[in-house]
Point group: C2
Chain length 333, copies 2
């Protein structure tokens, strides 16, 4: 659990895209963001107040979150200076970088001396159990995709936000680095040991109120041969009552696999639902979320209407059209 609120470190980001983790935090948990910290030459700007470490500390920030990708796979000396000072000022540090904070000798030593915590969210911090498959109270939705990176996290965050706005009980459950940094908690599923994958998702989505929904971020795809095992662990560990299908229609092949075509939404629906019913016979597919970022307005609308017609399920792009119709379908479960 990462302590909030955050000061977002944008470093020397060459453009806004490099700071997309920080952008995600600001978009989905603005209440967690006290301000931003930028180095000279930083080209990203979240529109938050620029703050020194001392100012952010005074404003209540608890953790400095590295919300930017580093260049060349190294944590530079320019960054280090800020990170060390932040520890000295009493901040914890949180990062989803491939190079772990804990492996940097200076950061590890200063964190130890100052009693601060280094959160490397790529690495599990918990010894997860083996899944026991026992029925849990409360309800769960899982986003499943035709492919990786089609908008499963976005869909889950948008549905969670919409549900809370409507006064429904909902918790977004992060299963990847960005989601964990956004919410301050979750399971870095791709880094979990094989035997404990499903158990980690049971751990993430425990017993809850009967009318509470866990909105579980999906990973990979049952049809992506590199990561499908991770996806199936979510389907079985998550014990979902509802699935939402996620798709990006302009993709010509599976991400990173030039020889592999995307499955149809029908194939994902049938395969995911049949497997989900092993863990929860009452599971239903409630809707379809389309990532229409590469389509014009009319094209996007027409495409969603077509899918809605052929699958008989509400179909929207939650970014363009809002998540309301998906949430209404969920409320009917």
């Amino acid at each position: 659990m990462i302590e909030t609120p955050y000061l977002l470190f944008l470093g020397d980001a060459p453009d806004g895209l490099a700071a997309k983790v920080a952008q995600g935090i600001k978009d989905w948990r603005p209440e967690n963001c006290v301000g931003q910290f930028r180095l000279e030459g930083c080209k990203a700007d979240l529109g938050l107040q620029d703050m020194t470490l001392a100012e952010a500390k005074a404003a209540g920030a608890k953790t400095l979150v590295i919300g930017v990708a580093n260049r060349g796979g190294k944590i530079s000396q320019t960054w280090k200076k800020v990170l060390v000072e932040a520890l000295e000022e009493g901040f914890d540090l949180a990062s989803g970088l491939h190079n772990l904070l804990r492996n940097e000798e200076d950061l590890a030593a200063v964190a130890k001396a100052t009693g601060r915590t280094l959160h490397d969210v790529r690495i599990p911090s918990v010894q997860y159990p083996i899944a026991n498959g026992e029925k849990r109270t409360g309800k769960r939705l899982l986003a499943v995709g035709t492919d990786c990176s089609v908008g499963k996290m976005y869909t889950a965050l948008a549905m969670d936000a919409c549900m809370r706005e409507k006064g429904m009980k909902s918790t977004f459950r992060a299963t990847g680095q960005t989601g964990i940094l956004i919410t301050g908690d979750g399971v870095p599923l791709d880094a979990v040991i094989a035997d404990f994958m499903a158990g980690s998702i049971e751990y993430l989505t425990p017993d809850n109120d009967p009318d509470h929904w866990d909105i579980i971020e999906g990973q990979g795809s049952l049809f992506h041969v590199s990561y499908s095992g991770v996806t199936l662990a979510l389907v079985h560990g998550g014990q979902p009552d509802a699935l939402v299908l996620c798709h990006e229609p302009t993709r010509t092949h599976m991400r990173g696999l030039p020889g592999y075509k995307l499955p149809t939404l029908e194939a994902v629906r049938d395969t995911a639902l049949a497997l989900a019913k092993v863990g929860n016979p009452d599971c239903k597919v409630v809707g379809v979320s389309i990532n229409t970022q590469h389509m014009g307005d009319e094209e996007a609308k027409a495409y969603c209407a077509e899918v809605e017609e052929s699958l008989g399920l509400p179909c929207v792009d939650p970014y363009r059209h809002g998540a309301d119709r998906l949430v209404e379908a969920l409320a009917a479960v």
Copy 2:
């Protein structure tokens, strides 16, 4: 890669079952076994020659393999004495125990001083790649089960042995601790990090002669909610040309999951085949292997005949009836 041949350490096994790893090595790779080493009070006997360390060394043994489960989850001082002496005599050590050899300070220090290797086969020794899904040359069979521990390893080992007897090109590919100790090589799949599971199986079953078969040991079940993700990584990383279904008919619920019924063989066939076709559209189900250990001879025969009739696939218990009919079906692929 563990150096062969072995001296099999049976320790103070209270009965034959406690030494089942050693029994498996002796049954399936007798040519790898120089002899057995027993402590006073050992109740297991593989029928191999009892040897001192020096005798086994003189007979060519390279590795002392711990072929017995330890009691109380500790490596006892009685064992330690033998293990340390073995290192001093020039043996490597290999173990599938939960407590790792490398975590025992004395063993680690002596191994370092003597330049010997400690093989803890529960832990991957390789940095596996992410799966790339590229088509590989050669052929692959995967054993898939209705449940865990229904005879997938046995089926794969029996088919591999039968194929080699018939002069076919075949390699058993181990994916669990016992299989790795039997063959000296393999992937401890349940201990691999989630993102690299499918890649580890690609690594295990690389390009080969067009008429060569990798006979891949299965793990878990697509219908076992605790481990299904591991199974799917085998289905997609293994890129199988052929599947053999494995089942134990007297089981009343999924292993370790009292609330879960076993799937039908038809359900496993359809689910596994549909998923396997994502990675290899030509994949076929070639036969069924039944573990009839809890059935009488007549009952076993009748059960297999019934399954053969209803599924239209050759069905045998390879332990009772031999693996020939499964291998013939494979040869026809």
